[in-house]
Amino acid sequence: MPKKQAAPPPPESLLPIAPATFDILLALAGGENHGYGIMKEVATRTDGAVQIGAGTLYGALKRLLASGVVEEIERDDPDDPSGRRRYYRLTRYGLDVARAESRRLQKAVQDAHQKKLIPRRVG
């Protein structure tokens, strides 16, 4: 008889998410990607302001895989010398976690507006 899988904790229980981890989730929200692709995507999106190191990236991916936020798939890749590459993608649960963290940050930005820390309209 197959073992019944325990239900994951509510997405809000994983908040707040570390900034580097949220950057990884944002990179994966655009679709599956491999490790180096995630690093490059984060650097491009932030105009080079955020450079994620390999230790930070794979340390975060290890935890995200363990908590079911991210899953990995192996795919053929002609660019890789081994011909295979591990790709990572957000699970449905991971998408809920990313959305919950986005809402939390949005609320923080709204609070910052109210406290006049930042102007209401930028640009």
Binding site: Y36, G53, A54, G55, Y58, G59, K62, R63, P81
Partner: protein
């Protein structure tokens, strides 16, 4: 610029073995891609080492925690096995003692059976103590296992016709328990601090 892959491999050794096993090859392939893209310079190495210093301790802690959690499960199973073996051994030796009371009186044999009864009780207590973990329980477990082995060896000499089941129970289980506790102790001493 020359490929300093050996240096990157050296930096990878800052990470715990299980993490290296899961992601080491991939991290190396990221390094090779970065080298191909020409981003490996002195600033890269500074960032790389800083990143390792910042992230490796947490990964060591997590690995250590996972290891201890896994050991806890094995320890509980060993505790249960030792307790059951201890109860069976005590019962077996009590039956032997009762049987010997009706037969020819042999003081040495009776003393040995009594000793086995005592070590059976000790093994039961050690098994129960292991269920609650702690260093004292481990020590008690080792003493119980060693005592059991000694008593059964004596019994084998005085009573060579002992049944296979009794021999297995009295020697294999305490030997397995003793080896398990010894290996855990050695691993605990040699494991690098997180």
């Amino acid at each position: 610029m020359s490929n300093r892959e050996w240096l990157y491999r050296l930096v990878l050794h800052a990470y715990p073995p299980e993490f290296r096993g899961s992601f080491g090859r991939e991290m190396l392939s990221v390094y090779r891609a970065q080298h191909r893209d020409g981003v490996v310079d002195i600033r890269y190495w500074f960032a790389c080492i800083t990143d390792a210093v910042a992230t490796a301790p947490r990964l060591w802690m997590e690995e250590l925690h996972e290891g201890l959690r896994a050991t806890g499960g094995t320890m509980r199973r060993m505790g249960m096995l030792a307790a059951i073996a201890g109860v069976l051994e005590t019962a077996n030796s009590l039956i032997e003692l009762r049987a010997s009371a009706f037969g020819e009186r042999d003081t040495v044999s009776q003393a040995v059976v009594l000793l086995v009864t005592a070590t059976g009780v000790l093994l039961t207590v050690a098994g129960l103590a292991l269920l609650f973990r702690g260093d004292a329980a481990r020590r008690l477990g080792r003493i119980g296992a060693a005592g059991c082995l000694g008593a059964f060896s004596l019994m084998l000499v005085t009573r060579p016709m002992m049944s296979m089941a009794a021999t297995g129970l009295g020697i294999a289980v305490p030997l397995a328990l003793w080896l398990f506790l010894y290996v855990r102790r050695t691993k605990g001493e040699t494991r690098p601090a997180a």
